[in-house]
Symmetry: C2
Subunit: 180 residues, 2 copies
DNA sequence: TTAAACTTTCAATAATTTCTGAAACTTCAA
DNA sequence: TTGAAGTTTCAGAAATTATTGAAAGTTTAA
């Protein structure tokens, strides 16, 4: 690793747990992203100075996040690993996966609590609040799944739109009737 | 705590670390949200069975996230705590705070690494990738700050727009020239 | 002032999470 | 088959993070 690459990879390690995984997994995905060729598990282990067993577990975890994929080189029995898509695809994958882990369980718990009749006035207040949380989480979920299903170029256009979004909304009704 | 409230509060505890804090802090904010009146630190400590010291630290943390605020009752020396805003405001606050913690440090590191000249062909590849990451993080940052600055109603309208956003984009140029 | 009522701090400990390394497992060429 | 080359598993150790509780700090009323 050159100094610049090492700086980046170590940063990915430090941020790893904030992004939803742990230090070594952060380093692994950082290194794979900036490598111009696929790497073997042993190369990861040697380069990052972490045990072979830890690399094996990290790979499993990164595969469960769909962030890396295996590549085979003809005539070579080793498994090579590389990022599972473009940077853009990796980013949306991380958001999607985190949404699943951070919001879906809560959504399902809230649904089960909300359908019951409140037993007293405190519960009525509490269930109102839970309903509010439920509705926001549901909006966010359906909104992000809409965004995911758009192609990346369109999404980038939307993001670049920035403050004009406000204007777009002001005109929305007119716009939608025109485009029917 | 009634059973339903307890279920919700304990769930907030379990999800706490996924949402960016720890178990007891998750429980604290969950309880404060569903309480129909402000609570004192001792009430939190007793209700949740956690030490008074832990509550004090949790309050500090929740204040640094701007999720709770202090309320004083005339003639009572105790500090009472309640959510710092509507559910919607709390949600955007969590997103904003997490963005600061999860993306800003990376953005600034990437900037410093990218401006240097690549020393060889590997670094050139790596710095290209870092630039891609940087650009995506920057788009997300400016996009979310646009969203934050919109009033909640407008934001809800935008979310409800859902897949129609695609149509909006198709018409954007026409729209923007009309609205000048 | 004093002391009661309350809050904060922080060193020690408990709980949890991560990491290692050796053993078990798998695959394949000879 | 065998064994070499590779991967995975998992119990125990190490590292990190969360929690307690006692002491120190703060504020206010008398």
């Amino acid at each position: 690793m050159t100094p610049k690459i090492e700086t980046f990879v170590m940063h990915c390690g430090e941020m790893g747990s904030r992004w939803g995984f742990n230090r070594t997994i952060g380093q692994m995905v950082g290194l794979l992203i900036v490598s111009d060729k696929p790497l073997t598990a042993n190369e990861l282990s040697d380069t990052l100075n972490i045990s072979r067993g830890n690399v094996s577990m990290g790979i499993k975890e990164l595969q469960s996040w769909r962030l890396i994929k295996t590549k085979h080189v003809p005539g070579d029995r080793k498994d090579y690993y590389e990022p599972a898509g473009t940077i853009w695809e990796l980013a949306t994958q991380v958001f999607e996966e985190r949404r699943k882990r951070e919001m879906d369980p809560t959504l399902s718990l809230l649904r089960s609590v909300i359908i019951e009749e409140p037993a007293n006035v405190q519960e009525e207040y509490a269930q109102d609040k839970m309903m509010e949380i439920h509705n926001i989480l549901e909006s966010i979920t359906s909104w992000t799944s809409e965004l995911q299903s758009m192609n990346p170029d369109k999404l980038k256009t939307l993001m670049k739109l920035g403050s004009s979004v406000g204007k777009v909304l002001d005109m929305k009704d007119k716009l939608l009737s025109n485009s029917k």
